[in-house]
Homo-oligomer: 146 residues x 2
């Protein structure tokens, strides 16, 4: 698809209220990280959006985490596909990723578990084998959200 | 989410029949390209999968195209989110992108229009302002597709 019908491009880093409303209820987003050879990794994550930051849990051994530790630049796209292309909408957020510390981990895990009840039973975020990554947005591009 | 429940990792470049079946019917995928500073761009595309290659149309002036022209490495993720996390599934394909030539463009545009009837009316792929990118897979990672 070409995102041409409603070309709402914004290049500053402040998310609008509409964008935040859109982001915070999304159940899945796709997160690209980049290795030292300039090769992207791109996988779905279940995002928590809290106070203008994006969070997601991941395994310590995950490729995306190794990428972020080598190159903190990450790009998360939140979008909804519909066959009625006039109504396509989404936000691409480029930002900087970092692993949160132990105290933050415990607070954020509660919020993530609260949003995604699946975590505790299906894929618990243990402190030993998991981390939470915080993404601070630096740039954005949105469409269809007016 | 952690893709932990059904960790079907494969690192060779040959797509299985199941993976091809899954890919070819998807209506949307997310495509990451990388600029010369190692910053990813990540947006939805409407993919055509034909003979082990992935194709998508884009505007000539699009950022993703500039990225691919500078760094042909692209990563496309095809996935289906469901609240029942045991049934999450998808394929991440890393590959090499190139802009197809004029003859290929005309043949592929027909196939893309055939899969996505929205194109002709909503976002026609004109030869002057659009290109079709071909992605040759080099590496893949899949989950939930057994």
């Amino acid at each position: 698809m070409k995102i041409a019908g409603r070309p709402a491009c914004r290049d500053n880093m402040k998310l609008t209220k509409t964008e935040k409303d859109f982001l915070q209820y999304q159940r899945v987003a796709r997160m690209a990280s980049v290795d030292s050879n300039g090769v992207a990794h791109n996988v779905p994550v279940c995002p928590l959006v809290d106070k203008d930051k994006i969070y997601f849990g991941t395994e310590r051994k995950a490729r995306k985490l190794r990428n972020i530790q080598a190159n903190p630049s990450v790009t998360v796209v939140f979008d909804e596909y519909t066959e009625a292309w006039s109504f396509l909408r989404g936000v691409m957020v480029q930002g900087t990723g970092r692993v949160v510390n132990k105290k933050e981990f415990q607070e954020l895990r509660k919020k993530i578990y609260s949003k995604f009840s699946q975590y505790e039973s299906n894929a618990p975020l243990g402190e030993r084998d998991s981390v939470i990554v915080e993404v601070t947005p630096t740039r954005k591009f949105s469409w269809g959200l007016e």
